[in-house]
């Protein structure tokens, strides 16, 4: 495992956008041990449940979010042989097509980075205190949690 120096935080909750390429470079910088990098990024889609989406508002619980995400990263590091991890999650008002979330994981062997990245996303979805409010043609609606997300997270303990 390749540790990051303290200047590079593993978790960033931010209103501003991020640069996917820059984040991958930071994950790879001075990290010649890990040959594999898997990234996930999620963006605001233009539709949900058949409704046209105009934008998204993201709220979170400061401090608790960071604590929860750090716990998820620690669990992933115990379960897989992974090197660096980066989680970025945006908050505030987002337009269609804007980036919402980024998860990057490096590892020596690809299956560790694939599994750890999906694990982090699955648990971020069901346990990190973020809430999405969608602006659609019918007005503003707080999104409901999906049963399928809960099932995905539970599947990891099988």
């Amino acid at each position: 495992m390749t540790s990051l120096n303290n200047k590079y935080p593993e978790i960033s909750i931010q209103t501003e956008d991020f640069d996917h390429g820059v984040e991958v470079n930071l994950l790879e910088n001075n990290n010649v041990e890990d040959g594999a990098v898997v990234t996930f990024s999620g963006r605001v889609r233009n539709n949900n449940l058949g409704l046209t989406v105009k934008g998204l508002f993201l709220e979170h619980y400061p401090d608790m979010t960071e604590k929860l995400l750090a716990e998820i990263i620690q669990t992933a590091k115990k379960r897989w042989d992974i090197g660096r991890v980066k989680i970025i999650h945006r908050i505030g008002q987002l337009a269609i097509g804007e980036q919402i979330v980024f998860v990057g994981v490096t590892s020596k062997h690809r299956q560790d980075a694939f599994a750890a990245n999906e694990f982090i996303m699955d648990f971020l979805k069901v346990s990190a205190p973020f809430w999405k409010k969608e602006l659609t043609e019918l007005g503003e609606t707080w999104l409901a949690a999906k049963a399928s997300d809960k099932e995905k997270a539970q599947a990891w303990s099988k």
Partner: protein, 82 residues
């Protein structure tokens, strides 16, 4: 005092981001809910929603979890990030 905060849909339903209750009025999360309902009758309906989650000092807890003066008790709907 116990600090109580609300998020997302619940914050909008209650029309409040948070309040404080006297530490003597509640020893568990369930009692915090009751104290909040007594404080504001309009809140009772929303606070009895079974899907509501609770965190005490940033840790997810059940309704029988003990609370004490100085705690931060947060109520919120199921999370929808990512």
């Amino acid at each position: 005092m116990i600090k109580v905060i609300f998020f997302a849909a619940l914050r909008e339903q209650l029309g409040s981001a948070g309040t404080e209750i006297n530490a003597d009025s509640a020893t568990t999360v369930a009692e915090v809910k009751v104290a909040l309902g007594e404080k504001n009758n309009n809140w009772q309906h929303y606070l009895t929603n079974n899907s509501l989650l609770c965190a005490v000092n940033h840790q997810m807890v059940n309704s029988d979890f003990s609370v004490k003066a100085g705690d931060e008790v947060a109520f919120f709907p199921p999370v929808t990030g990512g």
